[in-house]
């Protein structure tokens, strides 16, 4: 998603820029290449959606970005630059300064990501204190607590001053997600990475949380990466989107353009199988088959087994090609099949 951009942000440099990212996990069954050659850019103030099915590499991609790939996993190749800083070269001190303040990430599972043994106050204050050099030493504690309460109010926790001393398990799932967002936002990061912030939530609560993220993005001028498997969420809340399949980005472009005119056979299949309330008679057409194992892939298009357009020329490594302004797809036959 580099090259040609046509939007208003044309002039600005990307805040986050990922090139040729490759992340591997040694397992008993062999080396799992969970992320293989991913390129991504996130521009200031925009919301980038990352969509894909389970295991497609969405979480590992961004765990790699923020230096939290679990051992024995490792980033094998690629560059990750954030505001001019090479994140792959950062030491633990550098990370401590960056994480929370410049980049914050909310994890897929709010209950396990929050510390069950600490109150919500302790968890927010910990982040705030770590980045509170600007506050005078005297009264710092009180100021931090006030700011923490303010954050909870911002994310819509009722009676925040009373509830801030409760433990995570005393909140509902929706409130825990919002608490995670409050923690992530408490240092006003430049980039928020929200990994499935609403997947476990009911739709009415999901709508509240997503609206909140959008409002805060506008107010704070931050960039957001929204990881989800729900194309409806992507359509309503993101500016640009990258579709992942089996560890690779297979299509990327401006959200509306990509959804209205998908180019890659997988994206087209994905969009065709969403049950639409606006058209109840449209049949749901499944994509047959399964996602491949991420071991020893290569030399063939990863979608080959499931693709209705496969041909012998697809038996090679496929790279991304331009299919429109700021719109790219990983399909060697894209020109032919669109005719």
């Amino acid at each position: 998603m580099h090259s040609t951009r046509s939007s208003a942000t044309d002039m600005s440099a990307p805040l986050l820029s990922v090139r040729s990212l490759k992340t591997c996990f040694p397992t008993r069954a062999g080396l799992v290449t969970a992320v293989d050659g991913v390129d991504l850019d996130v521009y200031p103030g925009e919301c980038l959606g990352i969509v894909g099915e389970s295991g497609s590499g969405k979480s590992v991609t961004f765990a790699s970005v923020i230096g939290l790939v679990r051992s024995p996993g490792y980033v094998a190749e690629g560059s990750i630059r954030f505001g001019g800083v090479d994140l792959r070269r950062l030491d633990s001190n550098g990370w401590r300064r960056l994480r929370g303040r410049d980049i914050a990430m909310t994890m897929q599972d709010a209950l396990t990501a929050l510390n069950p043994a600490l109150t919500v106050a302790e968890q927010i204050e910990e982040v705030l204190l770590a980045h509170a050099e600007d506050l005078p030493k005297r009264g710092r504690q009180a100021a931090v607590r006030e700011r923490a309460i303010e954050m909870l109010r911002l994310v819509g926790i009722p009676a925040p001053a009373k509830r801030i001393d409760d433990y995570p398990h005393q909140f509902s799932g929706g409130m825990r997600q919002r608490i995670m967002i409050a923690i992530a936002l408490s240092c006003r990061p430049k980039l928020l990475i929200a990994d499935e912030p609403t997947t476990a939530l009911d739709v009415t609560i999901q709508a509240q949380v997503l609206d909140l993220i959008s409002d805060l993005r506008r107010e704070l001028g931050m960039s957001v990466v929204l990881i989800t498997h729900d194309l409806g969420v992507v359509a309503e809340h993101t500016d640009r989107v990258a579709v992942m399949y089996a560890g690779q980005v297979v299509e990327a472009g401006p959200t509306r353009e990509l959804i209205d005119r998908p180019k890659h056979p997988y994206t087209r299949g994905l969009i065709g199988l969403i049950p639409r309330l606006s058209d109840l008679d449209a049949p749901i057409r499944p994509i047959e088959g399964q996602v491949p194992e991420l071991i020893g892939l290569g030399g063939i298009c990863r979608f080959y087994d499931r693709c209705e357009f496969r041909a012998s020329k697809c038996r090679t490594d496929i790279s991304m090609i331009d299919v429109g302004p700021d719109h790219r797809a990983r399909c060697i036959r894209v020109e032919e099949i669109l005719q």
Binding site: A207, G232, V233, E236, L270, L273, L280, V291
Partner: protein
């Protein structure tokens, strides 16, 4: 679709499931007041033979409890269940066992609902053996036929659940539920644990099996897109109550109850312009241990008036074949 008014296959009247919490000895000694949770609160509806009734509502609203109570996997604490003309509310369990051949359930979690130590042949064949319906050889033949109709192969007979993907495991669960030739099947979130592409495969399978075998479904899902596609009629549940029932199309096009409106307007749409005007709710789902008085929805309802806080709205006719429980919806 309506075939000269078939009689309801399932009729539920004022069905109630109240769980007594802390009624144990220790609590009684400690003199704690008994806590009761009305998971299903005087629910009335019917399912016609051959139709799919979709049930939507947010987590914890009582959908699964309702489904299990209907099948008497949980015992109801009030009301009645009539299946194919027979009142089964108080039927002794041994008679229920025989009846259960005709009433089956497909569970949400294909991982948890299959015994990890049994082969596919044993899992799918077990209901036949339990009901003494077939001999060993015959069992194998019927299992093989069943596996084929759910898209699995004979080669899968000897394999174990962990050797299958989520979608394949759900196919095993479907085969197990259908091997007894039931007429009524509860599908309790059958695709929620699956990826969208696999979800679509399983929905297509369930729909074609329904046509081939003449099944009747009670289909539970929190995914309104899925429900819209599979259902003939839709029931909407909130905190143990059914707040609205109606034909799928009409209910989705023009919801009557404020909760249904809010729910539908919150569903993210991929089509530009398909978006409805948002009916915004505030606050979280109240605790089912202390449901609000009057209309249970009044704490989140943007239209609530004084009366809503005092008076429980009854489910009444609000259009042809449509009912809703709200003071502000005009009766038909």
């Amino acid at each position: 679709m309506s075939v000269a008014q078939p009689h309801p296959l399932l009729e539920i009247r004022n069905l109630e499931k109240v769980y007594q919490l802390n009624s144990g000895l220790l609590q009684r000694i400690a003199r704690q007041p008994p806590l009761s949770l009305r998971a299903v609160d005087k629910v009335t509806f019917s399912v016609k033979a051959g139709e799919t009734l979709g049930l939507i509502g947010e987590s914890g609203c009582g959908k699964s409890t309702l489904a299990r109570t209907v099948l008497r996997l949980h015992e109801p604490t009030g009301g009645s269940i009539t299946f194919d003309g027979t009142d089964i509310t108080k039927l002794p369990q041994k008679d229920m066992t025989a009846l259960r051949r005709r009433m089956q359930i497909i569970f949400q979690d294909p991982y948890a609902s299959l015994n990890p130590r049994k082969s596919v042949e044993d899992i799918v064949g077990l209901p036949l053996a339990l009901h003494g319906l077939a001999h060993r050889r015959e069992i194998r033949d019927r299992v093989v036929a069943m596996l084929e109709s759910v898209g699995l192969k004979t080669a899968h007979l000897g394999r174990f659940p962990h050797q299958f993907s989520g979608g394949q495991r759900q196919r095993i669960g479907i085969a197990r539920a259908l091997i007894l030739n039931p007429s009524f099947v509860v599908c309790d979130e059958p695709v929620s644990a699956l990826d969208v592409s696999v979800q679509a495969q399983i929905i297509a399978l369930l729909e074609s099996l329904k046509r081939e075998l003449g099944l009747t479904y009670l289909f539970i899902s929190h995914d309104i897109g899925v429900i819209g596609h599979v259902s003939d009629r839709i029931a909407v549940m909130y905190l143990g109550d059914i707040v609205e029932i109606g034909p799928a199309r009409e209910l989705l096009r023009e919801p009557k109850h404020p909760y249904t409106k809010a729910l539908l307007s919150a569903v993210p749409q991929i089509d530009a312009g398909a978006k409805r005007e948002r009916v915004k709710l505030t606050g979280d789902l109240p605790s089912p241990l202390a449901p609000p008085p009057g209309c249970k929805f009044h704490t989140r309802c943007p239209f609530a008036v004084d009366r809503c806080r005092r008076q429980v709205p009854a489910l009444r006719n609000v259009g042809s074949d449509r009912t809703a429980a709200c003071h502000l919806v005009d009766a038909a």
